[in-house]
Symmetry: C2
Subunit: 229 residues, 2 copies
DNA sequence: GTCTATATGCAGATAGAC
DNA sequence: GTCTATCTGCATATAGAC
């Protein structure tokens, strides 16, 4: 068996098992058993468990980011350099949601792995995470072009909440399903994407409209002041 | 030293350490060192590490839920049995946000612990979590009274997203702070609460207004259909 | 490059003296 | 109830033969 084959088998098995069960629950022994290779091969090829996780996080993160950026570029060219806000938000949350909640044939272990990585922020991953910020800046810039008058803070909050909604929905499908007794359909990913996109677009544009925004801001401040006393 | 004292010391130390560093990173030896008691005391008083975590989760969960329900009752009596939607949402997300992001003297280790518990869903916690559903039903019922015409699914999605936004903001303050270069003020908890409450109230009432809702739903379906081909 | 065998370390749990 | 000392098991990592 050529060396690259062993390496790839380990990466594939590790990605799948980590995505399914989490870093804490999967041992190197589990991985080598699933990959059909020897235990020592992991340390030979990657040096350590942490290095294996780090390599997975980098390569799979690149894959996810590429999917998002492809959709973003499409939206921007379709709008002659200024994409529609909803299209931008769709590019941000769509790939991950489809990769984790979509029909089985569309799901990607990469997306599942990245969600797992964000849930269990183990040391090797924490060290790398800063690159995500640069990636998000591209979406912030796109929204800035789409909504030139939008307040900076509102813009970042909008991005943050879009990711929060998508992410939390993936992580905890069970609670919502039980609470709603099946009335919230988590299998209809496209409807879910639109729900999140609509909500965040509403936040961004409501913040952008001067009257509504002033009203919100002043009511906020009024309440905040009241509570200080 | 009386027995209850040892028990309480262990609970306090465990809660604090788990909240700060997570279950995977804290050993029983760390806990007994911080509590100033003997290692064997943990197993004597609680039986196992898992039982200790379970006990913490139950007692601290009750504390958090009580804080939320107190605010909910206040809102309902203020509205003569039918609370304002925003007041309901405020009761849902306010206590946890204040307990985790508010000024130091208002923060509670219980709130931090509960957030940690929801991040690292270790086995002992997963087994108990169902009670949360019953707790949330009370908020669903309150919203149902406040917005009798609101669609069931929209209502549950609104609750879900409110928790998602609050929760994710607590868990990942760092990314937003860095991304926004400090422009998103995470120290102003009351403003944050209003931001989340306003956004979710907007979702709920926009879904409730028949014209807007129909429009959203149909655009969603249109897009979903388009993507199937 | 791949294997077997083993070193090393730390975790949770327990036996038994006091 | 509380302590010391120890058992047991499992995880990562490595040494060294092939």
């Amino acid at each position: 068996m050529p060396s690259d084959q062993t390496r790839a088998s380990i990466l594939d098995a590790a990605e799948r098992l980590y995505a399914e069960r989490g870093f804490g629950e999967v041992t190197l022994r589990d991985i080598v058993a699933a990959a059909g290779v020897n235990l020592a091969a992991v340390n030979y090829h990657f040096g350590s468990k942490d290095a294996l996780i780090a390599e997975l996080f980098v390569t799979r993160g690149v894959a996810t980011n590429r999917a998002r950026l492809t959709e973003l570029k499409e939206a921007e060219t379709a709008g002659n350099g200024r994409a529609d806000v909803k299209a931008i938000l769709r590019a941000l949350v769509g790939p991950t949601l489809r990769g984790c909640l979509g029909p089985d044939n569309q799901q990607s272990t990469a997306a599942h792995f990245m969600i797992r990585a964000s849930i269990e922020s183990v040391p090797p991953i924490r060290r790398i995470k800063n690159r995500e910020i640069d990636h998000l800046r591209k979406f912030a810039a796109a929204i800035r072009r789409a909504l030139p008058d939008c307040d900076d803070a509102d813009l970042y909050w909008g991005l943050h909440f879009a990711l929060a909604m998508a992410h939390q929905t993936i992580r905890d499908t069970e609670r919502l399903t039980k609470l709603s007794e099946g009335k919230c359909d988590l299998d209809n990913v496209e409807a879910l994407i639109e729900r999140i996109v609509d909500a965040c677009a509403m936040m961004l544009t409501a913040a952008n409209r001067t009257p509504a925004r002033t009203e919100t801001a002043s009511s906020t401040i009024r309440r905040a002041e009241k509570l200080k006393n």
